[in-house]
């Protein structure tokens, strides 16, 4: 972007505010310090207690998600079995995520007769410099996710205040898995539950500072299934996003 345009635009705003032109190297320190320092540093993050998990459950259920506590592999299997039968799930896609491996999701769904795919771009494709192959692979992947009846993901956090799931995009954990298929199953570890937005943003800040990484290209809060009230204010579920959201807390 031509720097000249930016400068003029910003100067115009500054003049509109009745301020003198900005001098070179004006300190930015006090732009962000107010209030935020109280919150991010030395904040005691509330632990994922039984009570907090119950709050999460209540809030998520209130917005139309199906929440289930599971302790064993068998329980997960039973739950998914019922879901797959009820909704006639034939194809599923999932994130490339440690929690899926931990609970042997592939095997489980395979046993239940579901065609399971991992929604990721093969390493061979992305590392190759063939743009055509990459484009083709991406299209293939998109089609697979589109045609899936069920999408399985993990989460980064589960927000008790509002019953929201916090998903962060990264390689192997794309956006479409929790969005295109009509059913979304989210696997949540109990210790991923956080109390409120303030704790959450403090954690997000800490992790991005620690890893020195840039923020994720897309963080998404998922609170219940997709819904609308646009026709006669009649609340209907499953407009463009998933119609059903299942949250399994292990």
């Amino acid at each position: 972007m031509a720097q000249g345009i930016n400068r003029e635009f910003l100067s115009h705003i500054r003049r509109s505010l009745g301020k003198p032109p900005a001098s070179e190297g004006t300190s930015r320190e006090d732009l962000l310090v107010e209030k935020s320092s109280h919150r991010s540093k030395e904040r005691k993050i509330e632990e994922a207690s039984e009570e907090l998990i119950k709050t999460f459950e209540a809030e998520a259920t209130a917005v139309g998600a199906f929440v289930h506590r599971v302790d064993t592999q068998e329980e997960i299997q039973t739950y998914l079995d019922a879901l797959i039968n009820r909704c006639q799930v034939k194809r599923a896609v999932r994130w490339e995520s440690p929690i899926c491996a931990e609970f042997e999701i592939d095997e489980m769904l395979g046993n239940l007769g579901v065609e399971m795919s991992i929604a990721h771009l093969e390493n061979t494709i992305t590392s190759a410099s063939d743009g055509g192959a990459e484009a083709k692979a991406r299209e293939e992947l998109r089609r697979k996710v589109e045609e899936a009846d069920l999408g399985i993901s993990g989460v980064e956090y589960a927000l008790a205040e509002t019953g929201s799931l916090v998903l962060m995009t990264q390689k192997g954990q794309g956006r479409a898995v929790s969005l295109l298929p009509p059913i979304h199953v989210a696997l949540v570890k109990a210790q991923q539950v956080v109390a409120d937005l303030d704790d959450l943003f403090a954690l997000v800040r800490d992790s991005s500072l620690n890893e020195g990484a840039s923020p994720t290209s897309c963080m998404t809060f998922v609170t219940g299934p997709s819904r609308t009230g646009d026709i006669e204010l009649t609340l209907t579920v499953g407009v463009h996003g998933p119609k059903e959201l299942h949250i399994l807390i292990v």
Partner: protein, 475 residues
């Protein structure tokens, strides 16, 4: 959007006669307040949150250039492309030229009042680009060739039968008036568009300066789809949308969903920082953030009117306003309706073109009570009224009509001292006699009829209170 602000009075009269519209607004309001009560109810912190939200907005607006500068740096660092547009024309051109350069033929759009403000859809259509609204309410309204009737519920004025007929007519599907079926139809139709579009265009609810993050709030999932599937994402924001940090964002995420639709949290919130990273499976290859002025900097110049830029576009003031409740959104004639619309529209489209809007209020203050950012809308309406009167159509100093001058001179004479006042009120008691019918004044002549067109006035008492008091204490 075609400007119809100059016929505001006529628009309102038509709306008052529209029984269907009246019913629709009524239903919406009832449900809205019911949900709002449930989500706010006995919350101790509600007012605290509002105070904090206002403080953050005030701080940000007062240093807007600095926060915008930081935002631009951060968005650019994350791989996004920022373009500043001083006006609607520039923004339209940028987006249309980008579409042309990338061979874009189909655009999917998330709901954005700002894109309506700049008249983007029509411009793209002229440039041979199909722009499909994907928010269900907007989709319906677009199919019908109309404009949104409400900031939050665009198709609030349509019954399910209306929608059923519309779909049958325009989409060639079987008629149905079952809401579930209609939703399914829309989902199918739009899913195809999402998957084939080359560009997604959305608005922005908040832009976090510190991290360069664009935040968009929704319930349907159409924004997530528009910002994840097409290879290009264009986000359009007014300059006032920037807020300092993610921590500041927290309070806005608490007040916005409750104020807009009575929810604790909307179904989906997307926090977008730059386009997709190199190895990610989906997400746009390019992210363009268009930052729009289009008259906002002019509003900034007025220290009092600056407050109107705190608005987070929740639509709550529309729902609270007794005037809006009777005339609906279309009557206001432009994109921004209701109380806040009455303040900002004249500033955007010109005082002369929208001079009736700030007067369409009884100053009841319901908007001020409900505003999550505590904007003092009645105060701003008064400010706008004096602007309209003083600056007039050509912006020149208004020449006060002789009748007005005479009326105020007479008034001053009467109020000057007790004797004049008493004489005047006795005269008035006499002069009113021909107009009193059945103990009421139902119509007055000339310009005074404005006070009696829609109400009856009680007559002045023949014996004033002062006289009764004097008699009572035996003076």
């Amino acid at each position: 959007m075609k400007l119809k602000t100059e016929t505001f009075y006529e628009n309102s009269q038509a709306a008052l006669k529209d029984a269907k519209l009246q019913r629709a607004i009524n239903t919406f309001n009832t449900r809205f307040f019911h949900h709002r009560e449930k989500s706010i109810g006995n919350l101790d912190s509600w007012d605290e949150w509002r105070d904090e939200a206002r403080k953050i907005k005030a701080r940000t607006i007062n240093r807007l250039d600095e926060y915008l500068e930081l935002l631009v740096e951060q968005v650019t660092k994350a791989g996004g492309i920022v373009h500043f547009s001083k006006d609607a024309e520039d923004a339209r051109n940028y987006i249309a030229e980008l579409a042309k350069a990338r061979g874009v033929k189909l655009v999917v759009k998330g709901k954005s009042m700002t894109t309506e403000e700049i008249g983007l859809n029509e411009f793209l259509e002229e440039a041979g680009v199909e722009a499909v609204e994907t928010d269900l309410g907007e989709y319906i309204v677009q199919l019908a060739g109309e404009t949104p009737a409400h900031i939050i519920a665009p198709a609030i004025h349509k019954t399910r039968q209306d929608v059923g007929e519309l779909f049958a007519d325009k989409l060639g599907v079987e008629y149905s008036e079952e809401v579930e079926k209609l939703i399914k139809i829309a989902r199918r139709q739009l899913r195809e568009k999402f998957c084939n579009a080359q560009m997604g265009i959305t608005g922005v609810n908040f832009a976090v300066a510190e991290t360069g993050t664009i935040v968009i709030v929704e319930n349907e999932g159409n924004v997530r789809l528009s910002t994840s599937l097409p290879p290009i994402h264009v986000a359009l924001m007014g300059i006032e949308k920037v807020i300092p940090t993610m921590e500041d964002l927290a309070v806005f995420l608490r007040v916005l969903p409750r104020s807009a639709s009575g929810q604790k949290m909307s179904s989906y919130v997307s926090f977008i920082t730059g386009p997709r990273r190199a190895l990610e499976e989906d997400g746009p290859e390019e992210l363009h953030l268009v930052i729009l002025d289009n008259g906002r900097s002019r509003i900034l110049q007025d220290e009092e009117l600056r407050e109107s830029l705190y608005c987070i576009r929740c639509g709550a003031c529309l729902n609270a306003c007794p005037v809006y409740a009777k005339i609906g959104g279309h009557a206001y004639g432009w994109v921004y309706s209701g109380p806040i619309g009455s303040v900002i529209t004249p500033n955007f489209v010109g005082l002369g073109k929208a001079k009736e809007l700030p007067f369409a209020s009884s100053l009841c203050g319901a908007c001020k009570d409900i505003c999550p950012v505590r904007i003092n809308i009645p105060h701003l309406l008064l400010k706008m009224r004096s602007k309209v009167v003083e600056e007039g159509e050509e912006g020149a100093k208004r020449r006060v009509p002789w009748l007005e001058r005479m009326s105020f001179t007479l008034w001053a004479l009467c109020m000057r001292d007790r004797r004049s006042y008493e004489l005047a009120s006795r005269l008035a008691t006499l002069m009113q006699r021909p107009f009193v019918r059945d103990g009421k004044i139902t119509s007055l002549p000339g310009f005074l009829s404005r006070w009696t067109n829609n109400r009856d006035l009680p007559p002045l008492a023949s014996r004033t209170f002062r006289k009764r008091w004097d008699d009572y204490i035996g003076r």
